[in-house]
């Protein structure tokens, strides 16, 4: 993992859920934790901030978790998306795997150890994606330079 500060976003309309998860993560990890009780506020924040993992509740008034996570895919494609669901929402979670590019889903009541592990793996995955992107960009740049160089060589011999 890189030294860069890792950020986890938690979105649930229930204040008690975001506070519980925040307390746990702040005690047990060194991730920066950003919590939101409104999905649209979270989307606004995402436009400006880089996050590695997004954990969202499924049942939220205004915007459900799948719609929210699908929207975050546009803004932060590299973030790992985790859906928090009630027991009865399992089918929806499975639907979200394709729609929102879901990384994982967790059922309420969740297990903290499992949550920690999924978040850690999600961060690693997100960092790998970022690294991959950076390397692809570097390769593309090198390729461009090579093409220019080749063009110059050809021109020199003509």
């Amino acid at each position: 993992m890189s030294d860069q500060q890792t950020t986890v976003m938690i979105v649930d309309d229930e204040e008690m859920v975001v506070t519980s998860i925040r307390s746990f993560l702040e005690l047990e990890t060194s991730h920066r934790v950003r919590t939101f009780t409104s999905p649209s506020d979270a989307l606004d924040a995402l436009a400006a901030e880089h996050v590695h993992v997004i954990v969202a509740d499924y049942m939220m008034p205004g915007m459900d978790g799948i719609t929210f996570l699908t929207a975050t895919r546009e803004l932060r494609p590299q973030a790992a998306r985790i859906l928090l669901t009630g027991y009865a929402d399992r089918d929806n979670a499975i639907r979200a795997i394709n729609e929102a590019g879901l990384y994982h889903y967790l059922q309420k009541p969740w297990d903290n150890e499992e949550l920690k592990l999924i978040i850690r793996n999600g961060i690693e995955r997100s960092q790998l994606f970022n690294e991959l992107d950076a390397r692809v960009a570097a390769l593309e740049m090198a390729n461009e330079e090579l093409s220019e160089f080749r063009q110059k060589l050809i021109e020199a011999f003509l």
Partner: protein, 268 residues
């Protein structure tokens, strides 16, 4: 040729079949209730479960720090962090417990298994209790409480709450995820009326007369088996009350229950 059947035996069989139908509708209502409670309890339960784990972890960390009887400046920072975590979870514990107490309170109003008898009650309490356990169905639906200043009504509260449960659930399911549900209560010197209106698709005039028939449903096999309204009608009849339905296609449906202030039991 077979013997003509004894009309008394036939009547008994019919009664038995009717009792079975009534029971299955009760079970369907109970099913909705249980699903609602399970869902409503899951959020505070999830928070409490997580918080319990956090406190255990925090305690372990504190014990680890205190083990060698010396607290270094670095450890002091760690202690501050632990205290912050404990503070956060204790605050949420309070909110979670309060939520569960409220839920159990509304269930008491709703179920009253200990008071299945006649009582004089405020119908608003029953309506609020039912709405509380239906919380998971409500989502983006706006609830308008057009409550009048109504007197307490003598009735079988658990049965009347079953009527509210059926009517509110029907109204919510008619609208899906969005809409407005209006509950209007009024009274005069002899009776109280509760009108529950949805902004759903409405019921076609040709089927409006059938809605109280046992077996009528627009919801398929899944819910209630089409007995909810038939049972509700029966309960209201039992209270010598009245139940009416008005519906406009594309605008919505209103069910109105009228109950006399004093109970004179009618034919069930």
């Amino acid at each position: 040729m077979s013997e003509p059947r004894d009309p008394h035996t036939e009547l008994d069989e019919l009664r038995r079949a009717q009792a079975e139908l009534v029971n299955s509708a009760k079970l369907a209502t109970l099913g909705s209730l249980v699903a609602g409670v399970a869902h409503e309890i899951n959020t505070p339960l999830g928070a409490l479960n997580s918080n319990h784990d956090v406190i255990e972890r925090a305690l372990n960390k504190l014990q680890g720090i205190l083990e060698d009887e010396v607290v270094t400046p670095d450890e002091l920072d760690e202690v501050r962090k632990i205290v912050r975590a404990i503070d956060g979870v204790l605050r949420t514990n309070g909110i979670a417990v309060e939520r569960m107490v409220k839920l159990v309170d509304s269930l008491r109003t709703f179920g009253r298994p200990d008071r299945a008898d006649v009582d004089r009650v405020d119908l608003h309490e029953g309506i609020e209790g039912t709405l509380a356990v239906l919380g998971h169905e409500i989502q983006d639906i706006e609830i308008v409480r057009d409550f009048g200043d109504i007197p307490a009504v003598e009735c079988y509260p658990d049965r009347i709450n079953q009527v509210f449960m059926n009517l509110l659930l029907n109204a919510l399911q008619a609208m899906g995820e969005h809409g407005t549900l209006t509950i209007r209560t009024r009274s005069n010197s002899t009776q109280v009326s509760v009108a529950i209106s949805d902004r759903g698709p409405g019921i076609p005039p040709e089927t409006l007369a059938e809605v109280f028939d046992p077996g009528f449903t627009t919801k398929g096999e899944r819910v209630g088996m089409g007995l909810g309204l038939a049972i509700s009608r029966q309960i209201v009849d039992q209270h010598s009350g009245d139940m009416e339905v008005e519906s406009v296609l594309g605008e919505g449906t209103t069910f109105t229950v009228s109950l006399p202030l004093d109970l004179t039991e009618g034919e069930a």
